[in-house]
Subunit: 413 residues, 2 copies
C-alpha cells in the first residue's frame, strides 16, 4: 500500500482553488468574500456540493462551521480535523484560508480515490469569519467550537454595512440546506491546518514546507479620539481640539515605542478615519485601529499595556478611549505534531524548516483541545491580504501531500 | 423718514433662522443640509414662499442661484446684491451662510414694512454649494455668477454618495418651480455679505460688528498615497510599502513646515482615510486632504509650492499624487464699502473693528465684479462647522441693521 500523499491530485487541487475564486471575484485577480456574505455562502455551497458528490457526510453547527467527514473504521473514535476558512479580506487573495480548506478536502478525496481506510474519522472543516473584517473579532467559528465563546456572544454584532450577525449567520447556514445540523465542539483527537505562509521567509530561504511551531502573540485595539469640530479657516491652531492632530501624536509615539532593530515586531495601523471627513472642517473625531504582534510573551504583554498608556498620554486637548478588541498571548503547537510534519516533509524530499506564524489562525483556538499543528507553504513575495496574493500549484500540492500523510498517521495512531 | 435699520425685526429674523433649521435637522441641535440635497431644495422653497407672500420677484439661474428682488425706482439700474448660502457642512450649524441669506431678506422685508423706496433694485441671493462638501470645489454658484466658470464645468461632478451634480442641480432648480428662469452674471453695482465670524476674535474683544477687509489666501489639496496591501502579522516592517506610514511622514513634515509662533497660519487635515480599512491589513492606499490658509500673499504662494514638495519628498517606499483642488490668493474688499460699514456701525452705536476673514466666502468671487464687502457678527466661542454653532438674536439683528443701512445707501448712491 502506497502513501496517502501519492494520491494527491495537483491539478484538481488547483482547479478547486480557481473554482472557489469565482465567488466574490473583484475582476482584478483577487476576491472580496467577506465572512457571512452571500458570496461566502455560495463558496460553502460549492464545497458541500463536491462533498455530496463523493458521498462524504456534511454537517453545519450553530456558528455556521461546516464539516465534511470521511468515516473511520472505529465509529466511536473522535475525529482528526483539518481545515481553515473561506472568508477573505475586502481586497483579499485566492489562497489565504481557502488553501487549508481545499487541502483538507483534497486529502479526503485522495483517500477515497485510493480506497484507503483509517481508524478515526477525518474531517475537513470551514471555520466561520476568521478574518473578522465585517464582524470583529475574527475566528468566530473556532472561538465557539473551542468553547471560549458561545455563539450568543456574537449574535448582535453589527457590520459597517449595517447588517446584524445573527441574520447573516442564518442565511449562511441556510446556504448548505442539506448539511446535517450539529453542535460545535470536541472531542477531537488532532488538528492540522495548512496555510500559505503570508510572509516572505520560506520563499527567501528556498524552502517548500514550514513546520509551524506556534503563533506569535497578537493584539488588536480600537482607538477613538474625541475633539471638537471647527472651521478650518478661522479657528487658531492653539484653540483647536483637533482629533486628527492628537491621533497623529499618538501614532508618532507608538511608532517610536515599537521601533525594533531586529524587525521582529509587527505594528500596523490598518484602519484610520477622520470625522466628519469634510476637507474644510477640523475633525472632531478620529477612529483608528492598532494591530501589534510579537513572539516573545513577556515583551508582548508589557507592550500591550504600553500601547494603551501611550495613547492616553498623547491625547493633548482631546479625549481618548482605547478598546482592547483582542489580546492573545503567543501559543505553542504540539511537539509531536511539529516533529511529525518535519519528518514527513523529509520523507517526501520537501525542504522544510520550523518557523513561528506571524499571522493568527483558527489553529490557535484548537491548541487547548487536542494536539495541534500547522503546515505552511510559500506565497510569492510574502504578499497576502492583497489581491496579488499568489502561490504555485507545486507548492500547494506539496503542502497537501505532507498534510495527507500526517492526517492518516494521526487517524491511525 | 427714519433709517432702514429701524425697521429690522429681531424676532422675525430669529424665527426665520429657526424655520430654516428644520431642513436637515440632525436632532442634535445642528443640521446636515449639504448642497443640492432634497433638504437644500426644501429650504430654498421655504424662502421662495416667504418672498412670494411679500410680492418680491423670485428668479433662479442655471447654477440654481436663487434671487429675491425688491425693485428700485430706476428700472434700468443694476442691483445692489446681498446674500450667502443655505447649504451646510455634514455636521453643520444653523447660522453659517443662513444668516447672510436671512439678513438680506430681512432688509427687503424691513424696507417693505416701512415703505421705503430706493433707486437701484436690491436683491437677496442664495448662492449654490458654498461649502463644497458633496461636490468640490465649493462656491459653485458664485463661481458661475462671476464668470470664472461655466456651469458646464461642474455638471459631471460626482458626490461620495454616488450622485451626479447635474441631476441634483435639476432637482434643486425644480424645488422653486415658480421662480423665473434667468441667467447668472452682472452687471451688479455692489455686494455685501453678512456672516457669522466663525472665529473667536469679535467675542474675545467684546465687539459686535466686524468690517471685513478681505479674505485670507486659501488652498485645498487632495493627497493620494499608494503602497501595497499586506498582512499585518507577517510582513516585516522593512519590507512594507505601508501607505499609512508614508502619509504619517508627510503629515509630520507638513506640521513642522507650517508651525507658526504667531498662530496666524491655518493648517487642517480634514479628511483622512486608510484603505482597504481592515484592522489586520497593511493599508495599500491613503487619501487625505490638506486645507492651508494665510493672509500674506507671498508666504501663501511659497507655502502652497512647499506643501506639494514636502508630500512628494516624504513618500518613502510609496507613490504619491498631490492634486491642487483649489488655490486662491488673498482678496481685498473695497475700501469705500469697508469704511461705510465701519461708519454705520458707529452711527448705530455698535462696537466694531476691521478684520480679515479666515474663512472663504462667496463674496470673494464678487470682488472683480463690483464694490464688495462683508459684515461679521460674533459666534459663540468661535465654533462653526459644528452642530454647536451659536449666535445671539441681538448680534444677528445688529448685523442686519448695519446691512440695511449700508444696502440702502448703496442703492441710492
Amino acid at each position: 500500500m502506497g502513501r496517502a500523499s501519492d494520491a494527491i491530485d495537483q491539478q484538481r487541487l488547483w482547479d478547486r482553488h480557481m473554482a472557489i475564486a469565482r465567488f466574490g471575484a473583484t475582476g482584478r485577480g483577487g476576491v472580496n468574500r467577506q465572512a457571512l456574505t452571500e458570496d461566502d455562502g455560495r463558496a460553502r455551497a460549492e464545497l458541500a456540493g463536491w462533498a455530496a458528490a463523493r458521498g462524504f457526510k456534511v454537517a453545519v453547527d450553530e456558528a455556521a462551521n461546516l464539516y465534511v467527514r470521511r468515516d473511520g473504521s472505529d465509529a466511536d473514535a473522535p475525529p482528526i480535523m483539518s481545515g481553515s476558512h473561506l472568508d477573505t479580506q475586502p481586497a483579499g487573495g485566492n489562497f489565504d484560508g481557502v488553501f487549508g480548506v481545499l487541502a483538507a478536502f483534497e486529502v479526503l478525496e485522495a483517500l477515497d480515490d485510493s480506497g484507503m481506510t483509517h481508524r478515526r474519522p477525518i474531517e475537513a472543516v470551514v471555520w466561520t469569519n476568521e478574518e473578522g473584517c465585517r464582524y470583529a473579532p475574527g475566528c468566530t467559528g473556532s472561538l465557539v467550537f473551542s468553547g471560549r465563546h458561545r455563539i450568543e456572544d456574537f449574535l448582535d454584532a453589527t457590520s459597517p454595512d449595517g447588517a446584524v450577525l445573527k441574520d447573516d449567520l442564518a442565511r449562511t447556514i441556510a446556504a448548505t440546506p442539506r448539511a446535517v445540523k450539529r453542535t460545535g465542539g470536541g472531542p477531537v483527537d488532532g488538528y492540522i491546518e495548512a496555510h500559505i505562509e503570508q510572509g516572505p521567509r520560506l520563499e527567501a530561504a528556498g524552502l517548500t514546507i514550514g513546520a509551524v511551531t506556534g503563533i506569535q502573540g497578537g493584539s488588536s485595539f480600537e482607538v477613538i479620539v474625541t475633539g471638537e469640530d471647527g472651521h478650518a479657516g478661522t479657528v487658531p491652531l492653539r484653540q483647536r481640539r483637533d482629533a486628527f492632530r492628537s491621533a497623529m501624536a499618538m501614532v508618532e509615539a507608538l511608532y517610536g515605542a515599537t521601533a525594533d532593530p531586529d524587525d521582529t515586531t509587527r505594528f500596523t495601523i490598518g484602519r484610520f478615519q477622520a470625522y466628519p471627513g469634510s476637507p474644510n472642517t477640523i475633525p472632531g473625531e478620529v477612529r483608528f485601529t492598532i494591530d501589534f504582534r510579537h513572539p516573545d510573551g513577556d515583551y508582548f504583554a508589557a507592550m500591550v499595556e504600553r500601547i494603551v498608556a501611550l495613547c492616553e498620554a498623547h491625547a493633548g486637548p482631546c479625549g481618548v478611549a482605547v478598546k482592547r478588541r483582542h489580546v492573545a498571548p503567543p501559543a505553542d503547537f504540539d511537539e509531536t505534531v511539529i516533529a511529525r510534519i518535519e519528518r514527513i516533509a523529509g520523507e517526501l524530499r520537501l525542504p522544510a524548516k520550523r518557523m513561528i506564524s506571524g499571522a493568527d489562525h483558527d489553529a490557535k483556538l484548537m491548541v487547548p483541545l487536542c494536539p495541534t499543528g500547522m503546515i505552511f507553504v510559500p506565497c510569492q513575495r510574502g504578499i497576502s491580504h492583497n489581491e496579488a496574493e499568489m502561490a504555485t500549484p507545486d507548492d500547494l500540492a506539496a503542502g497537501a501531500r505532507v498534510l495527507a500523510d500526517a492526517l492518516l498517521e494521526m487517524a491511525d495512531a
